[in-house]
Symmetry: C3
Subunit: 479 residues, 3 copies
Amino acid sequence: MSTTPLSTAPMTTAGIDAVGRRLHDLVAALMPPMRSITGSGVRATLDLVRAALPAQIPFTVHEVPSGTPVLDWTVPREWNVAGARLVGPDGRVVVDVADNPLHLLGYSTPVRARMPLSELRQHLYSMPDRPDWVPYRTSYYNDAWGFCLTDRQLAALPDGEYQVEIDTSLTDGSLTYAEIVLPGTTDEEFLVTTHTCHPAMANDNSSGIAVAAELASALAARERRFTYRLLFIPGTIGSITWLARNPAAVGRIRHGLVLTGLGDRGAPTYKRSRRGEAVVDRAAARALAETGRPHRVVGFSPYGYDERQFCSPGFDLPVGRFGRSQHGEYPEYHTSADNLDFVTPESLADSFAILNRTMEICEADRVWRNTSPYGEPQLGRRGLYRSIGATMNRASIEMGLLWVLNLADGTRTLLDIAERAELPFDAVANAADALAGVGLLTEDGPAVDSPDTAPIAAPATVAPPGTIAAAPEPAVVIR
Amino acid sequence: MSTTPLSTAPMTTAGIDAVGRRLHDLVAALMPPMRSITGSGVRATLDLVRAALPAQIPFTVHEVPSGTPVLDWTVPREWNVAGARLVGPDGRVVVDVADNPLHLLGYSTPVRARMPLSELRQHLYSMPDRPDWVPYRTSYYNDAWGFCLTDRQLAALPDGEYQVEIDTSLTDGSLTYAEIVLPGTTDEEFLVTTHTCHPAMANDNSSGIAVAAELASALAARERRFTYRLLFIPGTIGSITWLARNPAAVGRIRHGLVLTGLGDRGAPTYKRSRRGEAVVDRAAARALAETGRPHRVVGFSPYGYDERQFCSPGFDLPVGRFGRSQHGEYPEYHTSADNLDFVTPESLADSFAILNRTMEICEADRVWRNTSPYGEPQLGRRGLYRSIGATMNRASIEMGLLWVLNLADGTRTLLDIAERAELPFDAVANAADALAGVGLLTEDGPAVDSPDTAPIAAPATVAPPGTIAAAPEPAVVIR
Amino acid sequence: MSTTPLSTAPMTTAGIDAVGRRLHDLVAALMPPMRSITGSGVRATLDLVRAALPAQIPFTVHEVPSGTPVLDWTVPREWNVAGARLVGPDGRVVVDVADNPLHLLGYSTPVRARMPLSELRQHLYSMPDRPDWVPYRTSYYNDAWGFCLTDRQLAALPDGEYQVEIDTSLTDGSLTYAEIVLPGTTDEEFLVTTHTCHPAMANDNSSGIAVAAELASALAARERRFTYRLLFIPGTIGSITWLARNPAAVGRIRHGLVLTGLGDRGAPTYKRSRRGEAVVDRAAARALAETGRPHRVVGFSPYGYDERQFCSPGFDLPVGRFGRSQHGEYPEYHTSADNLDFVTPESLADSFAILNRTMEICEADRVWRNTSPYGEPQLGRRGLYRSIGATMNRASIEMGLLWVLNLADGTRTLLDIAERAELPFDAVANAADALAGVGLLTEDGPAVDSPDTAPIAAPATVAPPGTIAAAPEPAVVIR
């Protein structure tokens, strides 16, 4: 019986600094592409991720045709932007998407028109209370067009005829997402997802894309019990598409994390899965507590990012969300002020370290069974225990041994034991490794969640309904 | 699939005032009859109730013969009072039941005797600490006689021979109670009971009788999912008699409320059923919390009114008690000071409104199942959801929709969802109605309690033992 | 149906004083023998216990041969001490075990040698922070020898050659323990154990031995529902040996208490069993609360005395530990300062009284079933209930009757009912006795624990593995 190493050595300060700088650089590189839920901006983004990864990591880009039914939804038309600008009565360019992707309402239909300011106004979005910021707006499922600009710009617009030049296309194409699968010693999966549809903003969600890429590199270099699957997907429609197309993988997910907003100066924050006490929920809470710094663990709600889909009642997956300040909690959210100054190397590296530790705990957590449960085994003759007297040097090691022997009855995980014993997780995990090494513990299996309510059975199969056979996967393996 | 309207429009201030005045008038009308657990005073009381009800409400008066075995008890002899007075040595009338029913010990045996004050004293009841109030005393199951009077009267009694004139009868007759059954779309029942045995007191329990009558009128005018059964019964022996005679109806009771003491100036108070977390318990607690005013929710105890019988372990029905100040909490309790000044139109109307709201919540509470549980359904194309941007106008509506979709998995009631989501009940109920309207929810059934312990199985049948076949029901349908 | 008397009358102050003096005298008598986990010092100790017991109490001494396999352990060689002393360069005796058994490291091998102080030092144990106390040290399972002395003595030792004279023997012999079994009306058992291996210390554990003997005397004079089994055993190896040899008795244990450290001035302290909410855990907590004086109830941990073995996961017995200050909480622990001044008659008597009350509650606790569960039974005609009016004299008696009738549904113990009703245990127990007396309650059985996790099933049998057939019991019945 081999045991999984708890972790490589803790990161050094220099190592953390290097990670932070590397992440901030990658966030900067990810700012320019004209991202949306589909289109060439997504592909350009995935190319940047691919370029940031070690060559041996398999990076698969999937293209799912427009019109494909996915659960209750349909993959939308592909949106591409050749250019978009608003020209004033005086011939001056008011806003140009070439300057900032945020200037164009996401999924704007193509328009070539002249109109007076009065008619134009209903297509212009600004933030009166933040007169120097450009808001981020989209209209994916209702045909619309519009420009986003600062309120100061809006206020200064002269009356007159404006020229609207939106050179976009909405065509049958495909939805693009990427997937990294790093096999473990088991086919049980740890899912990590991050959304790729928000353009030109650093925290939401260049930070998520960058940290997911860094995690892939770190995980690839490590022994893995779980198979790690990292998804770079457009929000909502991306997770829905992936869920619809991967019923078998869905059934293998044991833990999952949605990554978003990982670089701002706020306290690290974990949002629990719908189950509330899944292993990943408890592991993340422990990892945060171990930092000894301010942090938050918030309850599940059906509002947020892709955890909404993974935690819908039919799937009810043990997937939480990790980030720092949450959507709506900071004024820079969904504006041009979510820029490179808004995210810091320190916060990015801290987020990475906490995620890393969460994964380590999930890797180490499992159910052990004491092979000598009647009375205490004689630890002294096995070289695990002091043989004389009352010194307290090895006290906490011994308490770890005694608690694990007492509670490893095949019903409790190491997290359970650490919580009951009020010991650090590693004290319990190290004790379990030592006891397993002398044959006093045998592994009953990994820690598995039992949801507080069973997921809803599909009518005829455990897989979600339909769409899979109808949509053979046009996967393109990039490397 | 039709959905039950949550409520008629909330009552207007004028409407509430009218209800309060009507209730106070009915309380006043109910004061004079010489009520006890049996006898013509009960029948006179039921006549007053009948007269206060709209003509179309079926009002059934039951007469159960003396000597009928009912559970562990026996229906007692019928007690009637032709007159009762105590005449002093000087020929002056000390007390006369014609002035106040409280002057006569309830169930006094007939007596014609002369005796000195020293012998008489053991038959006289007063309140030394409340020298101007007449106490209320009874002796149903031990033969006894006596007079109740103010302590000031008692202290002033001269020595000498007194004439006791108690013209009562204790004869084989019957126990009288009334029943209103308002059928709903299902035969599952909502039980409302109030005791009819206390004479000449406004709060205990003319108020209960009056509010029950007003509820009958309101319920008769409304769509009903539940079948409502309102009982006007003598305390203890009345509920025991009804339980013994109605095993089939007992099995259909889903919610129940015992009404008592609804008119005093104290805070509205709900006493939980033995189950503690029955739907009616949670609905009443919500209705009280929604008032935003001081209120109490107290735990079950086996002391009190007829909830003692409904919540005995063999029945263990989800029946709570609603009132304001509780027995023993106010000095006027069971005295002549529980008079028309002690109850107010405002308190009576407020009690009525809270009961009404409790019933509305029970009507609306049910178990829904999301028909599209894999991922979120696309609300936008169903006209339920905003299609653009980040305005917060419809935020709470949307949170209701999202929470209901997420938690409506066939295991949770709307009350469960409202509690978990920390949303007002109506936000959740309205969302459920809207989602059901577009086919995204299907009803799994009404909310049903699972008791924390199973009721005790009767030896051979689920019905309580015996007495039913032996006592064919001499029901008299009044209209 | 007979009911167990709740208790003999509460002890009088004079009675308590007498118990305290008797216990302190017995503690004093128990100090001299050269106790260890085996050997003639244990036998001498058991002779003292036997002498303190009334003649009719059966007192069985067991001898288990060295080399007998017991669970994961082996019964060690028997250790006996003919003498042991350390002689200085000047011919003066530094320490002599004849002065204090603590001077010799427990299980010291025989040694006759001369050596310089420098070599001797690694065999000398003292307490630098308590320069006048002799520490208590042992080395049962690693061959070693040594002397314990005050740090002041150690500091004053002159250089030179020392003569080590340790006349001990480590030979095939046996492990000795004693057992008292007091049959009850059922064969369900209440286990009481105390360790007999610590020499020359008053609190740890002459106090435990003395109080166990006093309990045996008290229990022998009483009606007993449970069969009481009292064990006087060496720590760890003694409980392991008993558990290995008594699988049938193990299966009959319903409650158990490990006694240690019962005489110091600290607050009485109960340590819960691994199950945490076993009947004995709740009974002990109640008994402590009833004292109205400071006390502690602490959670289970796998560190401590023989509860470690009884609460190992394979056995998971409902066995807690009772004492006052805990090991390691007081500086006198495991030193010569744990002497006769450290324990008081008052503390010893108080410990005895609390243990007595804990046993009374366990005896009285049981599951009753209301034989008339439909509605309230008519208490008045059974002479249990007031028949007139509103006096409150018998209020708490009546509340006991009503609560027991309401909750005695075959699922709740009297402890459950007392906790739910917030009534004193005796109010509930007395009500149950009265109701049983008139046939309104029937006994469903004694209160039985359901462990929070099932004990680990042995491979082929519910008994712990092996060793029993291999080791026929060489029991010697003393009387």
